[in-house]
C-alpha cells in the first residue's frame, strides 16, 4: 500500500514537472534581443567610383590613398 502511494506520488510529480516545464518553454520561445549572430560589417560600406575604362569598388577594409603607389597589380 505504502509502496503504491510512493509510486503514484513520484509519477504525479514527474508529470507535473514535465507539464510545467513545457508551459514555461512555450511561453518563452526565445529572447528576441539575444545576440544570436555576431556583428558583421555591412556590405553597404562599399563605395563605387566610375573611372575611364571601368568601375572601381572599394570595400570598407580597403582605403584609397593619394600616395604614390610603390607598385601595381596588372596583367602580365
Amino acid at each position: 500500500m505504502r509502496t503504491g502511494i510512493l509510486k503514484a506520488g513520484a509519477t504525479l510529480l514527474t508529470i507535473a514537472a514535465t507539464a510545467l516545464s513545457a508551459l514555461y518553454v512555450t511561453a518563452h520561445l526565445k529572447n528576441p534581443a539575444a545576440p544570436l549572430q555576431p556583428t558583421v560589417l555591412s556590405a553597404s560600406g562599399a563605395t563605387t567610383v566610375s573611372a575611364p575604362g571601368g568601375t572601381l569598388t572599394l570595400g570598407p577594409s580597403v582605403q584609397p590613398s593619394t600616395a604614390h603607389p610603390v607598385t601595381s597589380t596588372y596583367a602580365s
Binding site: T57, Q63, T73, A75
Partner: protein, 274 residues
C-alpha cells in the same frame, strides 16, 4: 609594433614577367634570397621545360608520382580554387592551351593561331588525386598552374620576407604589414591607389598574352576555348594573393552581369573593365 621607414626594393625578370620585392627594415640580402627562391620555384613549376617537376608529373599520367611539398601544396590549392570558383578556375587546362596554340613561352615568339574547337575541360577532382607526398593525374589530362602559382608564390614570399614586405610577381602580389608610412602599402589598382594591409591583389585579363582576335591565354573551362565574356580585365584585392587570383579570374569568366555580385561576396575591392 610598427615597422615604418624607408623601403628597400629589388626588381628582376622571372616567370616570364617582371617581379618586384619590397621590404621595410630588411637586409638587402634577404630580397636577393627571395629572387633565388622565385627562380628555383619557377624552374620547378614551369610547363615549358621538359625537366621541370610539373612537366614530369604531366608526363606520368595514370600512376602515383612522388611530389615535392611545394608542388603538393599548389595542387591542393588548385583543388581549393576549383571549389571556390565552382569549377571556373581549373588547372587541368594544359591540353586546351596547347589546342589554341600556346605551346611555348611568348618570349620565344607568338603562338600560331589554330582552328578553335570546343572541348570542355574535365572536372579537376576527376583527373587529379593527391595524397601526402604523392599525386596522380588521369591519362589525357595536363596541368598548367599559371597565375595560381604566382599568387601562391607571392603569398609565401610575403610571409618569408618579414613583417613589413610586399612581393609582386607579374601583377600577383601579397602585402604584409603596415607599409612604409605605417598606414598600409600603397598599390595601384584600376588607375587609383589603395592601401593594402595583410592582403593580396591580382589581375586577370584577356588583353595580354593574345595572338589573334579570338586567341588568347585565358581559357573558359565550360568550352575549352579562349573566354569571351564581355569583361576584358578584372583586378581584385582579397585576403591573399592566391585568393585574389582565383576571384579575379572567376569574375572575368562569369562576365559583367554576375561579376559585381560575385566580387561583392568574395573580394575586398575590385576593378571591372569591359
Amino acid at each position: 609594433m610598427r615597422h615604418s621607414g624607408p623601403v628597400d626594393s629589388h626588381h628582376f625578370e622571372a616567370l616570364g614577367t617582371n617581379c618586384s620585392l619590397f621590404a621595410v627594415g630588411l637586409a638587402r640580402g634577404r630580397l636577393l634570397e627571395g629572387e633565388f627562391w622565385v627562380r628555383r620555384m619557377g624552374a620547378r613549376l614551369t610547363r615549358f621545360s621538359p625537366d621541370s617537376e610539373l612537366s614530369r608529373f604531366n608526363a606520368s599520367p595514370g600512376s602515383w608520382m612522388d611530389v615535392s611539398p611545394e608542388l603538393e601544396s599548389l595542387l591542393r590549392e588548385s583543388l581549393r580554387a576549383y571549389e571556390m570558383s565552382s569549377g571556373l578556375v581549373n588547372v587541368a587546362v594544359l591540353r586546351a592551351l596547347e589546342g589554341v596554340g600556346y605551346t611555348r613561352p611568348l618570349s620565344d615568339g607568338q603562338p600560331i593561331a589554330t582552328e578553335l574547337r570546343a572541348r570542355p575541360l574535365p572536372p579537376l577532382p576527376d583527373v587529379l588525386a593527391i595524397r601526402p607526398g604523392a599525386a596522380r593525374l588521369e591519362p589525357g589530362a595536363g596541368i598548367d598552374l599559371g597565375g595560381l602559382a604566382k599568387g601562391w608564390m607571392a603569398d609565401r614570399l610575403g610571409d618569408a620576407l618579414g613583417p613589413n614586405a610586399l612581393a609582386n610577381l607579374g601583377g600577383d602580389l601579397s602585402a604584409r604589414g603596415m607599409g612604409p608610412a605605417g598606414d598600409g602599402w600603397p598599390v595601384g589598382l584600376g588607375g587609383s591607389t589603395v592601401l593594402l594591409r595583410d592582403q593580396g591583389a591580382a589581375t586577370s585579363s584577356v588583353r595580354r598574352r593574345r595572338w589573334s582576335v579570338e586567341h588568347h591565354h585565358l581559357i573558359d573551362p565550360r568550352t575549352g576555348l579562349p573566354a569571351q565574356t564581355g569583361l576584358e580585365e578584372v583586378s581584385v584585392v582579397a585576403t591573399s594573393g592566391a585568393e585574389a587570383e582565383v576571384v579575379a579570374k572567376t569574375a572575368l569568366l562569369v562576365g559583367p552581369a554576375v561579376a559585381p555580385a560575385y566580387c561583392a561576396a568574395h573580394a575586398l575591392a575590385w576593378w571591372l573593365s569591359p
